[in-house]
Amino acid sequence: MSTPESSPLVWEDELWEDLVRSTDAARCFQCGTCTATCPLAERGTLNVRQLVRRGAFREGPADLGAGTPGLWSCTMCAQCNVGCPRGVDIVGVVRYLRARGWRKNDVPVGLRPLLWAEFQDGNPYRLPPSQRSAWTRGLSGAATGSTTEAASTVLYVGCTASYDPRAQRTARAVARLLAAAGVPFRLLGEQEVCCGETPRALGVDGLFRDLSARSAELLRSIGATRVVTVSPHCFDALRAGLSKEVEVVHYSELLDELVSKGTLKVKPADPGLLTYHDPCYLGRHHGIYEPPRRLLESAGAKLVEMPRSRRWALCCGGGGGNMWREAPGEERLADLRVEEARETGATLLATACPFCVTCLSASEAAGPGRLAIMDVAEVVARAAGVPT
């Protein structure tokens, strides 16, 4: 029988109790369904079931630091959550374990500067807040968020849609569509602060709460009661971070409502054969599957589904802080997803998340043939006769 000193794993009561206190990991009975359904586990780099247990072990070979396989490459797609027979919030467990890494200052290279950027610049790109409104170039009238009425709706653009030229097109499309539908809204401009999704995903809850508090204060000071987001990640983070006083919706929900009521006029165009990629943070995390599809159909699209869709959609790999890391080739989920999309015969792959657009576009660019990738807002904008 091995002595505690020679055993590679030493159960530590204190660690287990902290894990149990902070997460619902105690409900796990190690069935392995999570690992069986995890897209990264298929690639051999993440053993979810093991992670859930490792939280109880003391430092040593089972140390949960930077080297822990899979802990940091988890994209938080929540496929594990969906399959878990015990309803454990496994994504929450991963977040907790990552927080432990930060406490020991044992995290992968590249993440510390990212958090400093969030802390000092209010966005992960290290770009100045003064450039946050650059995406509005070319917008006019109500689409700029200027309104004579005291608008209680804020269009929350988010860092990626503010700074990334590709995602800026989505922001412009959403702004123009809201204006075309006569929905008054405001923009936060340079004062908009990161929703904190990345610090939260990485396990740095303190920074997430700090950023949320700043957003809450700003929204309160302008009397906002509803926030419409461009990104599902902002949608998820603001939902988690703001109090219930503010209603947070994703643009696809609002536009779907406007189109079905007839407030937003959409003329079916012909975008051709189209497949839709469910963003994890819209779909699995929040159950929003139909509004984007209805919007695409109202725009005249012939929708064909990929084998893995809705609750079983394959993640693009951009979540869980992975937009800022280089995933090695075999882990690149977006490559697989683009392949799936191509196999449907679709000429257009639509999605509703700036991270998905970025990841899928990068994979598409590296492959053969041309598969157009667009955000749902852009497809709708075309059908609504609104410039993008």
Partner: protein, 324 residues
């Protein structure tokens, strides 16, 4: 304030040669000395006694060579002491040094030793109408320049970055050379050198003034880019797409998760210009971009954008530049 003590330039030795920046400064200092109506003196310290004539060829009226075998390497304590002695003895009005790592190590200590003013990293030197030397320094990321003078203390110590002044052409020389042979021993050194490792050949894009960067549009033909890079003294970089495809080593990947560069000029070929890439070239002095798609976001991040096929354009450039 100009006492008639002279404009002194510290010429830094590196191995068997003077650092180019020291010669660049000498060139400009010749004009400054004339403007101030003072002699130009070059000062150097090293192991060789016979290097004075070379400095005289760059316009120095007088040259002071401090020579001792132990001075083959820079040491803060020894060099500060040696220069202090010379400067106190001759009271120059100005001392110019190249803003090299050792140069700045020395200048900062010397300035406090002499309780005088130090103006660092000037990008230009001007003689004002009142015969005062003004050094212009950048600040705040280069958006603002401040003109600095040192009216009441001597010498006014000024450091200059390499490449700010042009390399002068040597003349006939003829200035007087004075050799100083200090007595020195190891015990006077403030530090002991344990090791010195010269730079290897590892790729370091952050040290390049000129970059040629390729993206998806290159189709993998980086040899073409390398030919161009070679002709313009540049290094080859790549976007994530290109690095992932294995077309170049990962050390050459530029962007948010790769290298952040600040070259004088970067030529971006066949890259769409996603923000994750452009944050790696945002600080470049001048951006030239070539892409087939007129809507490509890279054109927002470029000074000169050319809509066209990169292959024939690069081939033409190689032909034109290689021919001369």
């Amino acid at each position: 304030m100009s006492g008639r003590g002279g404009v002194w330039v510290y010429a830094e030795r590196r191995g068997d040669a003077f650092r180019p920046v020291s010669l660049e400064i000498l060139g400009r200092a010749r004009e400054v000395a004339e403007g101030l109506g003072e002699p130009l003196v070059a000062l150097t310290a090293g192991q060789d006694e016979g290097v004075g004539d070379e400095l005289a060829q760059y316009g120095a009226d007088q040259v002071v060579v401090i020579a001792h075998p132990l001075l083959s390497r820079y040491d803060t304590r020894v060099f500060t002491g040696l220069l202090e002695r010379e400067l106190r003895a001759h009271s120059p009005s100005v001392l110019l040094l190249g803003a090299t790592r050792d140069g700045q190590d020395l200048a900062g200590r010397l300035a406090v030793r002499l309780r005088t003013g130090l103006t660092a990293h000037v990008t230009s030197l001007e003689v004002a109408s009142d015969h005062r030397l003004v050094g212009w320094v950048p600040g705040f990321g280069g958006g603002i320049e401040a003109g600095i003078t040192c009216p009441d203390r001597q010498p006014s110590i000024v450091t200059v970055r390499p490449g700010v002044f042009p390399m002068p052409t040597p003349g006939p020389g003829g200035g007087a050379v004075r050799v100083v042979r200090p007595s020195l021993d190891e015990a006077e050194f403030g530090s002991r050198r344990i090791a010195f490792e010269p730079n290897g050949d590892a790729v370091d894009l952050t040290r390049s003034d000129v970059l040629v960067v390729g993206g998806r549009g290159t189709g993998g033909d980086f040899a073409r880019l390398q030919r161009l890079a070679l002709l313009i003294g540049g290094e080859v970089g790549a976007t994530r797409v290109a690095a992932d495809a294995g077309w170049v080593e990962h050390e050459r990947m530029i962007g948010q998760t790769g290298v952040v560069t600040r070259p004088k000029v970067v030529i971006v070929l066949g890259a769409s210009g996603a923000v994750q890439f452009t944050v790696g070239i945002d600080k470049a002095g001048y951006v030239i971009a070539v892409n087939r798609d007129p809507e490509a976001p890279i054109f927002e991040a470029a000074d000169l954008g050319i809509v066209g096929d990169l292959a024939p354009i690069v081939d033409q450039l190689v032909k034109d530049l290689g021919a001369v």
